[in-house]
């Protein structure tokens, strides 16, 4: 190869690099999705991807997002974290440094969201977890909020006390047993929050039993629980454990009312519970499809027509998360990561499909209401809405 030929090759190579560079930095708004497509919570990841894709398609059809007077399309970069903490961290790093996203949606489960949030905070990239309710996702060890990390859902601090009160004052049941997955962050903190709130509301905790992820046999714990004769069995666990616990509990003769929290709210739980052991169980949740709001109706209709199923709460929260990010980008008028995060902290009222969002007084956890659902005829049925005081 002559010298001239070499120069031409080099020139072509670098111009291709430049062109590739230009395309990615100027033409689209890159938003990363750090989600649980495989591992212990694949249904969560699937809903998250569906809702985000629906949102992006809708925005791009309308011409894109207005960034400082110029319309730009959104590019969604989907990455699987395998529901594992270490992979969630790697994915967050890759999205920020390699894909150069302006904001990250997810992870959803707290055990992934907490470690991933540290990466976003250190590298200065907005991260909004649609579903993680653990306190440590948005706060540092000293209790101050992380500058770049937000969530789209309420926390266990709002949800569980309201649920405990619901059990006491609405169901009039005062003796509770708790069986929870102690190796997962969210169920663990929900269990302890419930213990505290239920005692404060005047109830009695007669048993606190634990298991670890991947356990399938709960008979020893349930036999112990049965001996304490509870009125309520609170089961903070991921959806694939709940039907097994319910079945084994009923087979052992436990008649207590089952109670759950937002980890239950995926249709998979109904599919896995083919013998209806969970009928008439109550659980607290973010979202109900039985809403009158036109915004919600439109969302449900477009989701249903695209995917053939009704959206679950993760889908709804992801949809709101995308909305919050776009709102911040429009307000910031640029794709500067810090400017976007600053605008996010100042959102006073944003109406999403799960309710009205308010991030006031530097709080990175939104102030929202809690919905109680029950399971009937293989469906989630709306019971009541609990307002935080």
């Amino acid at each position: 190869m002559s010298k001239q030929q070499k120069q031409i090759v080099y020139f072509l190579f670098f111009s291709i690099l430049l062109l590739v560079g230009c395309r990615s930095s100027n033409q689209s708004i890159k938003i990363g999705l750090n989600t649980e497509l495989t591992g212990e919570a694949p249904a969560v990841g699937a809903s998250c991807v569906k809702a985000a894709t629906l949102f992006v398609n809708k925005m791009n059809q309308d011409g894109g997002v207005d960034v400082g007077g110029k319309k730009k399309p959104i590019e969604l970069i989907i990455a699987d974290n395998g529901s594992k903490a270490d992979e969630a961290v790697v994915v967050a790093q890759r999205l920020i440094t390699q894909n150069e996203v302006v904001a990250i949606v997810g992870p959803n489960i707290s055990s992934c969201a907490v470690p991933a949030s540290e990466i976003s905070e250190n590298m200065g990239c907005l991260m909004i977890s649609p579903w993680s309710t653990n306190i440590h996702t948005t706060t540092k060890n000293d209790g101050a909020f992380k500058k770049y990390v937000f969530r789209a859902c309420f926390t266990e601090l709002v949800e569980i006390p309201l649920l405990a009160q619901f059990a006491m004052s609405h169901l009039h049941l005062a003796k509770a047993a708790v069986l929870y997955d102690m190796s997962s962050e969210s169920p663990n903190s929900a269990a302890h929050q419930f213990q505290e709130s239920f005692l404060k509301a005047g109830g009695k905790i007669v048993a606190m039993e634990t298991y670890t992820s991947q356990d399938r046999d709960f008979s020893a714990q349930l036999t112990k629980i049965q001996a304490s004769h509870p009125d309520i069995l609170f089961i903070p666990a991921y959806y694939n454990d709940v039907p097994l616990i319910a079945e084994q509990a009923r087979n052992l003769g436990i008649t207590a009312q089952f109670l759950g929290y937002n980890s239950w709210s995926t249709p998979e739980i109904i599919q896995l519970d083919s013998h209806h052991y969970l009928d008439h169980a109550y659980f607290s949740n973010h979202f109900s499809t039985e809403s009158d709001s036109p915004l919600v109706k439109k969302f449900i209709q477009s989701y249903q027509s695209t995917y053939g199923t009704a959206p679950d709460d993760i889908a709804a929260l992801t949809y709101d998360t995308m909305g919050l990010i776009v709102e911040s980008i429009i307000k910031a008028g640029s794709l500067n990561r810090t400017a976007i995060a600053n605008m996010m902290a100042n959102i006073e009222d944003f109406t999403g499909v799960t309710g009205t969002y308010k991030f006031h007084q530097g709080n990175h956890d939104p102030f929202k209401n809690v919905i109680v659902l029950t399971i009937e005829n293989e469906k989630f049925v709306y019971v009541t809405t609990l307002q935080p005081e």
């Binding site: 495989t38 399938r216 020893a220 036999t223 694939n240 052992l252 896995l272």
Partner: protein
Amino acid sequence: MDYIIQQVINAIQLGSIYGLIALGYSLVYGVLSMMNFAHGDLFMLGAFFCLLLEKIIPLPLWLALLLTMLVIGCLGALLERLAYRPIRHAPKVSAIITSLGCGLILENITLAMSPYPRHMPTLFQNSIFHFHGITISSLQIIVIGISLLLMILLDVMIRCTTLGMVIRALAWNRLMVSLLGIPANRIISFTFALGAALGAAAGLLYALTYPVVSSSMGIAIGWKAFIAAVIGGIGNMRGALLGAFILGSTEVMSITMLPSTYRDLIAYSLLLIILIFKPYGILGEPPTQKI
């Protein structure tokens, strides 16, 4: 009192499932001195295969069990032929890594095909009996029964048949057995198939008892069964069973007497103590020095 009896039933059920898996580990180790860490995943495949089978044609339990054992047994033999035989004379670490790798491959193939946990259909009408505050289901009786039957059949086979004698001879001295004109490779394949079939049977019974099937279901229980096999004396069939029942009852007992948070801590501390006093396991014997 009935509370204690109920917990004993729970312990027997858990122990018999651990036992079926531990037998597979011990069988393979006895013949090849190799730990087949893909065993937990063969257990998982057993559950998945039965699920698939029931989706296509609903078969009665005994037929589904036989078919599952046959197919997963063949798969086990195939695994041995393709992955383990080529490295039989390589260092032991390579064999361990290969088996871990095979396990991950099997797990991820299943994960790619079915990322969602599936519900296992019931293969027969389950009825629950109550007497004097004790609850036992027909499913529990069947699971414990089939487990015990398979264990006894294996024990009889190993001790009383020519094939069993050859397997024992192989475990004793592979070179000598080959010199006597016995097709050692074929026997090793058969042993692998047998181990895999037992694992698959355990997977099926486990999926019936705890009817949520997922690709990661074999990991934790595979390790527990492996520990049970080591405690009992790896390579020794009766030891594997003893270890499994000890592990099962320690787990249930520690939950019964203490907060369940300490279950694994207590169970495994106790097992470590056993190993300190019996380093080759309870029924294991120290290897004899060959000159």
